[in-house]
C-alpha cells in the first residue's frame, strides 16, 4: 500500500442504489477501483453496475472481503451507516455525504478512531491514487500517475489544481480531499506523515482555506518532521471578515485561522505558498525540474 489505497483496496459503496452511489460506482470502476459490494438496506439481491447489493455491511464484508467503504447515504443516516461500517471491520471509510451535523461527526470520529477505522471526510471528494484505486468522486479525467502528493480541504479547487499539475506534464501519487467541514476524520497533520513515509511521493501540494487552524498545525508539522518540498495555496485571502462565528470561536483560535496567519506559518515552515491557484502547478513544475537535476 502506498497511501491508504492501492490495488488491494476492496470497496463497499454504502447507499449504492441512490443516484450518486450509482454514478460514482461506475466512475470508480472505470478508474480501476475494485468495487466489490454495495449496501442499501432492503435492496439485497439486486445489483448496480454489476456490483452485488447487500442489506448490511457485515454481509458485504463476509461475502466479498470489502475493507473500505464509500458512503453516499443522506446526512440524517450517515452516523448510523459509519458506525455500521466500523462494526463490520471496515478500515477506511470515505464520507462523501455533505451537511452531516458536527455533533454527529464528533461521535463518529471518536467511535471510529477507538476501533482503528480511518475516516476521510465528510463533505469530501475522497482519495485517489492514479493507476491504483480511487474511493470517492474526484473526476477521473484530472489524474495522471506521477510523484506529486496532494492534500486539500477543497473539492472543485482540488480538481482544478490536480488538473493543472497534469497539464504541466506531471502526475500525482495520491490525492486526498479531506473535506472542509469543522470536524474531519483526517486532517493535514494526520495525512502528512503518510506521505512522508510514501516512497512514491517526491513533492507535496497542500490546498487550504481560511477558518480553523488546520494549516497552522500543518505548518508546525512540516517545520519539524516533513522532509519533502511543499507547495501550498490558501483560498480566501481576500474574503471579507463578516459572517463570523461568535466570540468563543475567535478566542479558541486567538488570531490564527486567517489567511495571513496560515500563509505566514507555512512560509516560516519552508513551504512555497502560491498566491493564486494557477501558480501551484507552475511552482510544482519548477521544483520537479530542480529535483530531477539533482
Amino acid at each position: 500500500m502506498t497511501v491508504l489505497v492501492d490495488g488491494e483496496t476492496r470497496v463497499v459503496v454504502q447507499g449504492i442504489t441512490g443516484h450518486q452511489g450509482t454514478v460514482h460506482t461506475r466512475a470508480m470502476r472505470e478508474f480501476g477501483t475494485q468495487v466489490v459490494a454495495g449496501v442499501t438496506p432492503g435492496k439485497a439481491g439486486s445489483a448496480v453496475e454489476g456490483v452485488p447489493v447487500f442489506d448490511t455491511v457485515r454481509e458485504a464484508v463476509a461475502k466479498t472481503g470489502a475493507n473500505a467503504s464509500c458512503l453516499f447515504v443522506p446526512a440524517p443516516f450517515a452516523k448510523d451507516a459509519l458506525i455500521e461500517a466500523v462494526d463490520a471491520g471496515i478500515r477506511l471509510s470515505v464520507l462523501v455525504t455533505e451537511h452531516i451535523p458536527f455533533h454527529d461527526m464528533l461521535v463518529m470520529y471518536h467511535y471510529a478512531r477507538a476501533r482503528g477505522t480511518r475516516i476521510i471526510g465528510p463533505n469530501c471528494p475522497g482519495i485517489a491514487a492514479p493507476g491504483r484505486s480511487k474511493v470517492g468522486i474526484i473526476p477521473n479525467v484530472v489524474f495522471r500517475p506521477g510523484r506529486v502528493g496532494v492534500i486539500s480541504r477543497s473539492g472543485t479547487l482540488t480538481y482544478e489544481i490536480v488538473n493543472g499539475i497534469k497539464e504541466h506534464g506531471l502526475g500525482q501519487s495520491t490525492c486526498i480531499g479531506l473535506g472542509g467541514d469543522p470536524v474531519v476524520g483526517t486532517s493535514f497533520v494526520d495525512a502528512l506523515p503518510l506521505f512522508e513515509r510514501d516512497p512514491e511521493t517526491d513533492l507535496m501540494v497542500l490546498v487550504g482555506e481560511i477558518g480553523g487552524t488546520a494549516e497552522e498545525d500543518a505548518a508546525e508539522l512540516i517545520r519539524t518532521s516533513f522532509s519533502k518540498p511543499v507547495v501550498a495555496y490558501i483560498a480566501g485571502r481576500s474574503a471579507p471578515p463578516g459572517k463570523r462565528m461568535g466570540h468563543a470561536g475567535a478566542i479558541i483560535s486567538r488570531g490564527r485561522g486567517t489567511a495571513a496567519s496560515k500563509v505566514a506559518a507555512l512560509e516560516r515552515a519552508g513551504a512555497r505558498v502560491a498566491r493564486f491557484p494557477y501558480e501551484v502547478p507552475e511552482i510544482v513544475a519548477e521544483l520537479a525540474r530542480t529535483q530531477a537535476r539533482r
Binding site: 451535523p101 461527526m105 473526476p139 482544478e160 474574503a239 461568535g246 468563543a248 493564486f276
Partner: protein, 377 residues
C-alpha cells in the same frame, strides 16, 4: 447557522433548568408596559433590544425603568429603531438584579481536538477577546461520557466559586451541556453569568444552532436571522448565497473555488460582492434558479467559474441558457463564463450556441469580468 436572540436563548435556558432573571419579551410599547404593570417583570427593570449584534449596552439598546410609564417609553424608543443594520422588532424586559460578581462561560467546538470545549473565566461581563489566555480555563469534553462531575468542579474552581455556588454551577453546567448537545448548538455562551446572593443567573444568552442539524430541529426554521431577503430565498432553495459590498457576481461550485475566484478577481482590481456557490448538482433547474437569484441582486457583471465534477459542465450550460432566456433585456448584465472538467466540450458548445464564450484561462477570464464591470469592453 441560526443565531438566536437573547430572549429565544433564554427560553432554551429555562427549558434546560438554567436560571435566568424574571423577564418577558414584548413586541410593542403597550405590551412592555403591561408586563411591568402586571408584576410579571418586577421593578426596577432593564429593557434590552432583541438584536443579534453585540455592544448593545454602549449602543443605547439597553435601558432602565422604575415605573410602567418609563418601561413604555424605553420600549417605544428602542422598538422599530435600527441597531447596526438590524431593525429592533422585540425588546426583553427583565428584573434588575443585584450583581455581586460577573463570570464568563461557554460551550463551543474545538476543531483541532475534535471535541466540545468548555471555557470559563472569572473575568465576565467584558468582551472575552480582551481577557488574557491565562485567565481562561479550557476543558475539552469527551462526548461519550459527556461532561463529568470533576470537570464541573474544576470549572467552579476556575471561577472562584465556593459554598452553595458550587452546586449551583454544577446544575447549570449540566443543563447547558445538555442544551449544547441536544439542540445541536455551535455555541452556547453566557456572558455575564452573575453571582446574585447564593444563586447564579444567566444575564445574557448567546446560542447559535448549527444549520446542518436543521432536520432535527424544525422549530428553529422560522427563526429570524440577519440574512438579507435574497439570502433567505437562497436558503430555502438550498443555495449558498452571500451578499456583501461589491458589484461583481460570482457563481462557482465549491467553497474553495468560490474563494479562490474572489482572490483572483480582487487581484485584478475587481470588487466581487455577491457569491453564489452552486455546490454539487446535476439538476439544470437548480442552475437556472441560482442564476435568476443572482440576476435579482443586480450585479454589474457576472463571472461563472465552474470546474465540473459531480456537477457536469453541460448541465450548468443548459441551466444557464434557460435562465438567460427569462431575464428581461433591461435587466441583462455582462457575463463571463469559464467551465472546465466533466463534459467540458458539450458545455462549451451549448454556451457558444447561446452566444456565450467560455474563457478557459482563469487569469484571462477574471480580467475580462473586471473590465466588463467597469463598463469596458
Amino acid at each position: 447557522m441560526v443565531k438566536l436572540t437573547e430572549g429565544r436563548g433564554k427560553e432554551l435556558f429555562r427549558k434546560y433548568g438554567v436560571a435566568v432573571p424574571k423577564g418577558v419579551v414584548a413586541g410593542s410599547a403597550d405590551d412592555a408596559a403591561r408586563a411591568v404593570a402586571s408584576g410579571a417583570v418586577p421593578l426596577p427593570c432593564v429593557i434590552k433590544a432583541q438584536v443579534l449584534a453585540g455592544g448593545r449596552g454602549k449602543g443605547g439598546a439597553v435601558r432602565f425603568a422604575s415605573t410602567p410609564e418609563e418601561a413604555r417609553a424605553a420600549a417605544a424608543a428602542i422598538l422599530g429603531s435600527s441597531f447596526q443594520g438590524e431593525t429592533v422588532r422585540e425588546v426583553l424586559l427583565e428584573e434588575k438584579v443585584a450583581i455581586a460578581r460577573e463570570l464568563y462561560l461557554s460551550f463551543a467546538l474545538d476543531r483541532t481536538a475534535r471535541l466540545p470545549i468548555l471555557m470559563t473565566s472569572a473575568r465576565g461581563g467584558v468582551e472575552i477577546e480582551s481577557v488574557d489566555d491565562s485567565e481562561i480555563e479550557r476543558q475539552t469534553i469527551d462526548p461519550f461520557p459527556g461532561l463529568v462531575a470533576y470537570e464541573r468542579r474544576r470549572a467552579a474552581r476556575s471561577l472562584g466559586l465556593t459554598g452553595p455556588l458550587v452546586g449551583e454551577l454544577d446544575r447549570l453546567l449540566t443543563g447547558l451541556y445538555r442544551l449544547f448537545d441536544d439542540e445541536d448548538a455551535e455555541l452556547v455562551e453566557v456572558n455575564p453569568l452573575a453571582v446574585v446572593g447564593d444563586r447564579l443567573l444567566a444575564l445574557d444568552a448567546k446560542v447559535i444552532i448549527e444549520d446542518d442539524a436543521a432536520f432535527r430541529h424544525p422549530e428553529f426554521a422560522a427563526v429570524h436571522d440577519d440574512r438579507t431577503p435574497l439570502e433567505e430565498i437562497a436558503r430555502e432553495k438550498e443555495i449558498a448565497f452571500v451578499q456583501l459590498e461589491g458589484n461583481i457576481g460570482v457563481i462557482a461550485n465549491g467553497a474553495g473555488l468560490t474563494m479562490a475566484t474572489l482572490d483572483v478577481l480582487k487581484e485584478f482590481g475587481g470588487a466581487p460582492g455577491i457569491f453564489l456557490d452552486l455546490g454539487g448538482t446535476d439538476d439544470p433547474k437548480k442552475v437556472t434558479e441560482a442564476f435568476l437569484l443572482m440576476a435579482q441582486a443586480k450585479p454589474k457583471a457576472v463571472f461563472l467559474n465552474i470546474f465540473g465534477g459531480v456537477t457536469r459542465c453541460d448541465t450548468v450550460a443548459r441551466g444557464l441558457v434557460t435562465a438567460l432566456g427569462s431575464v428581461a433585456p433591461s435587466e441583462r448584465f455582462p457575463l463571463v463564463a469559464r467551465i472546465r472538467g466533466n463534459n467540458e466540450a458539450e458545455g462549451i458548445a451549448i454556451l457558444r450556441a447561446a452566444g456565450v464564450t467560455s474563457v478557459p484561462d482563469l487569469k484571462a477570464s477574471a480580467q475580462a469580468v473586471v473590465a466588463a464591470a467597469r463598463g469596458g469592453p
